[in-house]
């Protein structure tokens, strides 16, 4: 606006006012917005305002072949795309009554866990940045890049892999890949004490995150909270253990929980989950050479592939929480209806609105990052 066009608008004096927080705001996660009403700097009302990233996924998927949708699904959640592919593939396999070779199942789990580590490192970085600790962000993003390098060697893509297809995975791992995986795991594990010193036990972080955005277990269950956010309220629910898919029943891992349910607990749960994921990856690296066989069950001509009529719901544990696909087929070459149960749509809308009440404005960004909401998946 040019200065001569500016007319001052007079407001009645008030200590209550409304602010638009986002979408073009450095504190908000992605392209997402909140309308907040403030009293001083305390939030007294908040309303989530999404839709900036809406692409109409569920409608787009109805117009594409079963196999084409594989390229579409990872775009739903950008920081953690692998669970999307796996979950969709599992749904199509269930509809087809298809067996997945054992080696492919182990490879999928390896990919899921690597993706979880990458997503958690990214979240730590984002959360630290909202409390003013930019060094952790630089470290988190740089260490995540090591995992993206592994993905790139393995599948050809850094972020989107399009690697899991109905019936298995696209190809086997390259030679010597497992050594590089364990090397990277060793490196990331050796970095964790540094992260602890810099971030997790840092007094700045502890003071700001403790008692910020608390929720108790009953609220969490009522609001449909899943994943690390639910485990931070003390309930050890994890789809990987309670409804095992792939080969998770043959893997030994623990489910970390914390009781307080505030931003600090949510981040600590992720920190411990990172350790568990490294532990799982090590087991897979040990086990994989002894599992032979093909990595894919052949599927008929994918361009004219009619999936039998029926409906199914499959779910996996993504780094954000429970992710489910409800897929209906009417026996044609395209899905009849796909519904995605994303964890973030619960976390970023209702829960974020509730937890922001009574928080100070500078903590709203922190609450959003501690919930690890993923805006593209909210809007779809």
């Amino acid at each position: 606006m040019r200065p001569e066009n500016y007319q001052a608008i007079s407001h009645p004096p008030s200590n209550e006012y409304e602010l638009n927080f986002g979408p073009n705001h450095p504190g908000i996660e992605g392209n997402y917005a909140l309308k907040v009403k403030l009293h001083g700097d305390v939030v007294v009302a908040a309303r989530a305002d999404g839709g900036y990233l809406h692409r109409g996924f569920e409608k787009l998927m109805e117009g594409r072949l079963w196999i084409q949708n594989i390229a579409l699904v990872p775009r739903i959640c950008v920081p953690d795309p692998v669970p999307m592919e796996v979950c969709y593939s599992m749904a199509v396999e269930t509809l087809n009554d298809m067996e997945v070779p054992e080696r492919a199942q182990w490879l999928r789990v390896l990919q899921l866990e690597l993706s979880r580590i990458a997503a958690h490192l990214f979240t730590f970085g984002g959360h630290a940045a909202t409390t003013g600790m930019y060094t952790t962000m630089y470290w988190g993003v740089a260490d995540r890049d090591l995992i993206l390098d592994l993905f790139e060697e393995w599948t050809g893509g850094r972020v989107y892999h399009i690697y899991n297809i109905p019936g298995g995975v696209r190809r086997d791992i390259p030679e010597g890949f497992l050594d590089r995986v364990s090397h990277t795991m060793d490196y990331i594990e050796s970095r964790l004490p540094d992260y602890d010193n810099l971030f997790f036990t840092n007094q700045v972080f502890v003071d700001r995150a403790k008692d910020t955005g608390p929720m108790n277990q009953q609220q969490a269950l009522e609001w449909g909270v899943t994943g690390p956010n639910l485990r931070a309220t003390g309930l050890a629910f994890d789809v990987r253990r309670d409804d095992p898919y792939l080969v998770y029943d043959q893997i030994d891992f623990e489910i970390p929980t914390e009781a307080p349910g505030d931003a600090w607990a949510r981040t600590l749960v992720r920190r411990q989950e990172l350790m568990q994921s490294i532990h799982i990856v090590r087991q897979i690296v040990e086990k994989l050479p002894s599992v032979g066989g093909p990595v894919r069950t052949p599927i008929p001509n994918p361009l004219a592939w009619n999936v039998p009529a029926g409906e199914t719901y499959t779910r996996v544990e993504s780094s954000k929480g429970e992710l489910g696909y409800y897929v209906v087929s009417d026996g044609s070459d395209k899905p009849y209806r796909v519904h995605i149960r994303g964890p973030s749509s619960m976390h970023a809308v209702r829960v974020l609105e509730q937890l922001s009440l009574g928080a100070r404005l500078e903590d709203v960004a922190q609450i959003m990052f501690s919930l690890d909401a993923c805006p593209p998946e909210v809007d779809r």
Binding site: R2, N24, V42, L53, V141, V159
Partner: protein, 244 residues
């Protein structure tokens, strides 16, 4: 208010004949290309490759590019991926707030032709119909190296005075506005006075005004304070107590 004479960008309009002025222009463009602030607005999924490009591994800062949080101090507007129609309105508002000279980079195939979402009902397919795009970085999504290479290209173009998309927006405002009205409806308006700016920069041409700008003037309403959004929602203290 007293009129302030803001110096007009040197090379606008007629070409300079004074050799000293030309040297000066070149120096200005060189300096401008070496220190750019990029707006921190992540519009689509390509934004996930920006943190690696900005942080220690690829490090954009060594090219002199830094993220900036407000549009008014930014030089580059990055459109990182698909823009849904709701986002596109905000993007245009943001673009018109930025001070000239300003540059738009379209990252990702989705800004070029719609990419993966070519049949989506919610996204705008071709970004250059609504904003003047100086540079496209194609790919789904482009790697950080590609982003850096694109930035280098933009720097070269700024130095050789080819990155003049912002002038194009003033010269052909009517066309851009027509496309925007086609998408958002006839009553679309922004607080910026683009025609006034165009004549200020001496860039008003035959395409600046036309049928669409006339439509804009017909539908234009004076700016009003926004209605408060929250009808309910209690206050923590009673009103007035705060002052006592």
């Amino acid at each position: 208010m007293k009129e302030i004479d803001i110096p007009i960008e040197a090379s606008v309009g007629q070409s300079r004949t004074n050799p000293l002025a030309r040297v000066f222009d070149e120096l200005v463009r060189f300096c401008r290309s070496r220190s750019m602030f990029m707006l921190h607005y992540c519009t689509g999924c390509g934004a996930i490759e920006l943190p690696p490009a900005m942080t220690s591994r690829f490090d954009m800062e060594r090219l002199g590019i830094q993220p900036m949080v407000t549009p008014r101090q930014a030089d580059i507007l990055l459109i990182t991926g698909y823009v849904s129609i709701k986002t596109l309105k905000r993007v245009i508002l943001t673009y018109e707030q930025m001070g000239s000279p300003k540059y738009v980079i379209g990252i990702c195939s989705c800004t070029v032709n719609g990419g993966m979402y070519w049949q989506s009902y919610a996204t705008a397919k071709q970004l250059d119909q609504y904003l003047p795009v100086d540079l496209y970085i194609a790919g789904c999504m482009p790697r950080p190296e590609a982003v850096l290479e694109g930035m280098r290209k933009l720097m070269d173009r700024i130095r050789s005075d080819e990155a003049d998309g912002w002038k194009d927006y003033y010269r052909r405002y009517d066309w851009y506005l027509g496309n925007q009205q086609h998408l958002f409806g006839d009553d679309w308006q922004t607080p910026a006075d683009v025609i006034g700016e165009a004549s200020h920069y001496d860039l008003a041409g035959p395409g600046t005004e036309g049928e669409h700008t006339r439509l804009l003037q017909q539908c234009q309403k004076p700016l009003e304070p926004q209605q408060t959004f929250f009808q309910i929602g209690g206050s923590l203290e009673k009103k007035g107590e705060f002052h006592e």
